[in-house]
Amino acid sequence: MEVVQIAETSFAGLESFIGRYSLGYERGEGSQHFLRVKIPNGIVTSTQLRGIAQLSDRLGRGYAELTDRQDVQLHWIRDEDAIEAFSQLRELGFTTDMCGQGYPEARYGDVRNIVGCPVAGLARDELIDASPLVLQMTRFYSGNRDFLDLPRKFKISLSGCAVNCVKPEIHDLSFVAARKPDGEVGFTAFVGGGLGSPPMMAKPLGVFLKPSEVFEVARAVIELFRDHGSRETKPRARFKWMVEAWGIDRLRGAVEEKLGRSLEPITLNAWVSGGDHSGLQAQKQPGRFYVTLPSLGGILPSDRMRAVADLADKYGSGELRLSTSQKPIIVNIPEEHVPSLLTELEALGFSLNASSLRWRTIACAGNLCGKAPDHVKARALQLVEHLESRLSEDLKRLDVTVYLSGCPNGCGHHPVAGIGLQSIQLKVGDELRPGYNIYLGGRLGPRAAFGRLVKQRAEADQVRLFVEKILKAYLRQRRDGESFSDYCERHSVEELEALIEQPFAVEEPLSARRDAVRP
């Protein structure tokens, strides 16, 4: 066959983006491609954020979302505009996720945005600032051709946060800060988590690592996955299946063999996980504060993105952070600027007097990815507004997570939520309607458990009523200090189902009834 050499200039400029930039495929709301900008450790400047806002205005209809992996996601990006987008991102210092998931075979998996505590280096109670390690690892894996053909995507968290806001149990590989009895601070590792069906909790690898060992241990684990992970079928190619097949002891042994030395054993008996950094908080730096904005579902259109960036310049240091619960954080705010900032945030619709659910609700982008039968973020807003109107002040003190996913893949983390909602398609007569499966009692930490399926195939419009009933039951019946997940744990699925199915009782002041049942 004759080879016709197309002029090199025709392809000029493409090669330099390959391996570092791609568009993801989606099919919702007329969008064919999303652009997922990786923000390592969620650390971003106001200038960078304005640059992304500009990109969104030019190519993405002015819409953007913050994801639960600290990315900024744009939609409606066209193939022919991709190079303009990639070029601008490169100037801003960012890369994107690779979209190898589009392949039908188990290959072209990449290391996804490495998540870390968004207030790393700022939080008063952190054990260690892990963000330099996150940035080091990001630099190593971005565009590194040795790690662009993993069996599947690979998700890492690395955090020194005291409340482990990054949810270490749900990633392929997590590094969690740990303090030894002698006071030395380092990390321990968790392996094999993932929320796609079937969800699995990461398991402790049982080692103590000095900070200087984290990079090489991560590399060893990823190389083992690359070289030994199953490539037979795509669903079985995620790292969690390799961990299941190998077991912890074999995996730890293989890591040690690669390193040529034994790792220090450690048993972690207690850790906090899945906490958050809501609202206004004092930093470890005297006289400085950070504020996490209640952006429900992470929706941050370009005009609001720009406004938030401007506030970071005006009242902070021009730096922002993105949380793993889809929230922007303005940091380094001098104490004297706090009142003015809060007033401006209020005017922007980010009132800090909002209910706790504004910070503790996560919702996926299922309306755009096309896999969800419902508009999950809109449903989340409907649900939260409903609960706010029905539960008002009680909601402010409530420590319950509500996570919504559009499909079993669990991008909205629904399996580990106190109240987890997964969208499904219902057929009512000849009509297709959105519905939800309702899971209750999920939790992280030493007693990590997935939520139990309490109600199947609830009509989407009814979900808010079911959730209202279970929260009211909890508020009335909880024991002193009892968390929502503890409350769910002491009830059977049948009892919980009865609670959410019960008819609404004549309203009584919740506080009075709660007092009445206190021992």
Binding site: M1, E2, V3, V4, Q5, I6, A7, S10, F11, L14, I18, S22, L23, G24, Y25, R27, Q32, H33, R78, D79, E80, A82, I83, M98, C99, G100, G102, Y103, P104, E105, Y108
Partner: protein, 81 residues
Amino acid sequence: MTVQKKEEQRYLLDVKGYVCPFPSLYAMRSLGELSKGDVLEVLTDNPASCQTMPYTVERQGYKVLAVEKLEKNVWRIVIAK
């Protein structure tokens, strides 16, 4: 990256191994070099390209003649300039 001439006015572009948007971008740039009436066959193993490339090239004024599965996990998109 090369484009092979299969026969008179018929060319082949193999972009297997490339993820979005690169199959579409290579196809568009190749079409830009061909003459009116030429046909370009694009081979891809990225199923998303079967969905998106037809829209992309038709926006540029080209005509998609076929999208067909050649073998397991390989598709051919045939485009006329």
